[in-house]
């Protein structure tokens, strides 16, 4: 067997970046109106350098519709895959993910409560739903993990997933109760729950970029701790990892990532489950390599899912979550089958 490098090599970064950019460009070009790659590149280059744009329809399609959407999709995919990879390492559980653990549902509940009760933060007008989503994501994680530890210290795959599923059902019923009593806010809530990355704008891109940059580096610098956790929490303690501190940092970071993604694009299931699993087969379980590779992989996966959602039943556009869930459910069963066989 050939030796795997400890770090991600520069060459690998270049390859992953190139593939991601190629997919990104493809997703901008393809759609209800197809735009040649050359035009796309010209328009983006002009926009970046400030050169005046030629008179054409393509300019507004690219710059105000497709580019922000594609960037949001890529960033959401990267963020979700990264948080999935981190959780799978921390909990030593290949099925852990925001959607299987119920964290995404928790985040949605937070967002719905924020809308229904009009929770706003004066300094940050758009941040009400986002902050509530993050807080609820974190509280959900604490609750689910706390309960799992109580029932089964080893955090076995089945216990934690079962609790996650039950928690998701519980949360969605609470959400329905809130909606029933929301009165005139029903429209806003419905609008949010139906919301997707379809109508993304540059503000969303900016927020996602910030969250991804900060949380991504925090997680990346915890790669060694995550490796130790992936072998086992006891083993991590034995080799000298500050177990409590690491857990707290990773859980908060993951909550922020998921909270931001959910508040912008709604619940997109299984990205964080499928991507790290596939990437692990490619680069191995070492988080120094797995985390960056998952981020790239998540971006590509969600971009392709978004593309499929747009063109498969064109002119009807599927919600992106439908595509990821279709793929994700199959992969989930595959992983579950494999872990049971072992």
């Amino acid at each position: 067997m050939k030796k795997r490098a400890e770090h991600f090599r520069t060459m690998e970064y270049i390859i992953f970046t190139a593939v991601t950019l190629a997919v990104l460009a493809g997703c901008i070009c393809i759609g209800s109106v197809s735009i040649p790659l050359k035009d796309t590149v010209t328009v983006i280059r002009n926009a970046v350098t400030g050169t005046p744009q030629p008179e054409a329809l393509a300019v507004s399609i690219i710059l105000s519709v497709r580019l922000p959407r594609v960037l949001c999709v890529a960033l959401s995919g990267a963020a979700l895959a990264l948080s999935g990879a981190a959780m799978q390492g921390l909990l030593k559980n290949p099925l852990a993910d925001g959607s299987t653990l119920g964290v995404s549902s928790g985040a949605s509940l937070g967002a719905v409560i924020a809308i229904a009760f009009g929770i706003r933060f004066p300094a940050l007008p758009f941040a009400g739903t986002m902050i509530m989503a993050i807080v609820f994501a974190f509280l959900s994680l604490l609750m689910i993990l706390g309960l799992s530890y109580k029932l089964d210290y080893s955090l076995s795959t089945n216990t934690i997933i079962l609790i996650g599923v039950i928690y998701s059902m519980f949360v969605s019923s609470i959400m329905n109760v809130i909606i029933a009593f929301a009165g005139d806010k029903v429209k806003d809530i419905t609008f949010w729950t139906l919301g997707s990355l379809q109508n993304s704008n540059y503000q969303n891109v900016l927020i996602l970029t910030g969250a991804f940059a900060v949380c991504g580096s925090i997680l990346f610098f915890r790669a060694r701790e995550l490796n130790a956790f992936a072998v086992g929490e006891d083993n991590a303690r034995h080799v000298g990892v500050d177990v409590r501190r690491t857990k707290l940092i990773v859980l908060i970071t993951v909550s922020v990532l998921i909270g931001v993604c959910v508040s912008i694009g709604g619940t997109i299931s299984f990205v964080g489950l499928v991507t790290p699993h596939m990437v692990r087969m490619l680069v191995g379980p070492n988080h120094r390599r797995l985390l960056p590779a998952s981020a790239f992989g998540g971006a590509v996966f969600l971009l392709l899912a978004d593309l499929a959602a747009r063109i498969l039943l064109s002119p009807i556009e599927l919600p992106i979550g439908v595509v990821t869930s279709l793929v994700g459910a199959l992969v989930f069963i595959f992983i579950f089958y494999q872990t049971r066989k072992r």
Partner: protein, 254 residues
């Protein structure tokens, strides 16, 4: 080296360890023995801060509760009973984790002496040829040797063993214990191991601590503690006779 004073561990209403005191000096191999449920493994968990306790555990005079986890790991290494690895890490990646406590800063992959310690540990345990193999493909004995290499790479002064050979074949049990015996020969080191098998304790230990229902029943030199007078009441049977017949399997010459 290690001094445990008035250690008490309570889980809910159940007192697992009741006011236990003992000490280990350099060069000693202390065998903690006793029937199931005596609290043997809990002693180890308390020392590694994996179980809440009252009382004090001092390592060379400093309270280990106040030590940073990484500082503690440079002094104390643990070899656990079982390992269930979920992901296909290579042998070398597992062994390298033993150097975690020595890395300074966020970026450092390997500091000075890391390579040497990792290579030496894999060489000593005979895992060098399998260094790039996935741990998911190893036999039970090889997996245990991999984790032994990890803890040796950690270069601790005190090694804690929690029935590390319980599920292994006799050949592997002997291999592991012989390796640890060799490791202990370097001055300034000590071993504390929890064992189930009294004959094993007798064959390798210098000292022994006999526990029963969370209390120390007897402690001292192995020969004195593992005698019929102390063992039979605790186990409620004639264990000594049984142990004598079992001892032959550990004959170290050959």
């Amino acid at each position: 080296m290690l001094e445990v004073k008035d250690l008490t561990v309570v889980y809910g209403t159940h007192t697992v360890i009741d006011d236990l005191s003992f000490r280990i000096e350099e060069g000693q191999w202390l065998m903690v023995v006793g029937p199931n449920g005596a609290g043997k493994s809990t002693v180890l968990n308390a020392v590694t801060q994996g179980a809440p306790y009252t009382g004090s555990i001092l390592l060379n005079g400093t309270d280990i509760k106040r030590q940073k986890p990484s500082a503690r790991a440079r002094q104390i290494g643990v070899l656990a009973q079982n390992h269930h690895v979920s992901y296909d890490f290579t042998v070398e990646e597992i062994v390298r984790l033993g150097r975690y406590a020595y890395a300074s800063g966020l970026f450092s992959g390997s500091g000075d002496g890391d390579e040497g310690a990792v290579e030496y540990a894999m060489e000593l345990t005979g895992m060098t040829p399998k260094r790039n193999q996935s741990v998911l493909t190893l036999s039970g004995g090889e997996l245990q040797r991999t984790f032994l290499a990890q803890v040796l790479a950690q270069n601790p002064r005190l090694l804690l063993l929690d029935e590390p050979t319980n599920h292994l074949d006799l050949v592997y049990q002997k291999q592991i214990f012989a390796l640890i015996g060799q490791w202990l020969k370097t001055p300034g080191r000590a071993v504390l191991s929890v064992v189930h098998d009294l004959s094993l304790a007798r064959a390798f230990g210098t000292d022994a601590l006999l526990m029963h229902k969370g209390k120390a029943v007897a402690q001292g030199k192995t020969g004195a503690v593992l005698s019929p007078e102390t063992l039979d009441p605790v186990y409620g049977m004639d264990v000594y006779e049984w142990m004598r017949t079992m001892l032959s399997q550990w004959s170290l010459e050959e």
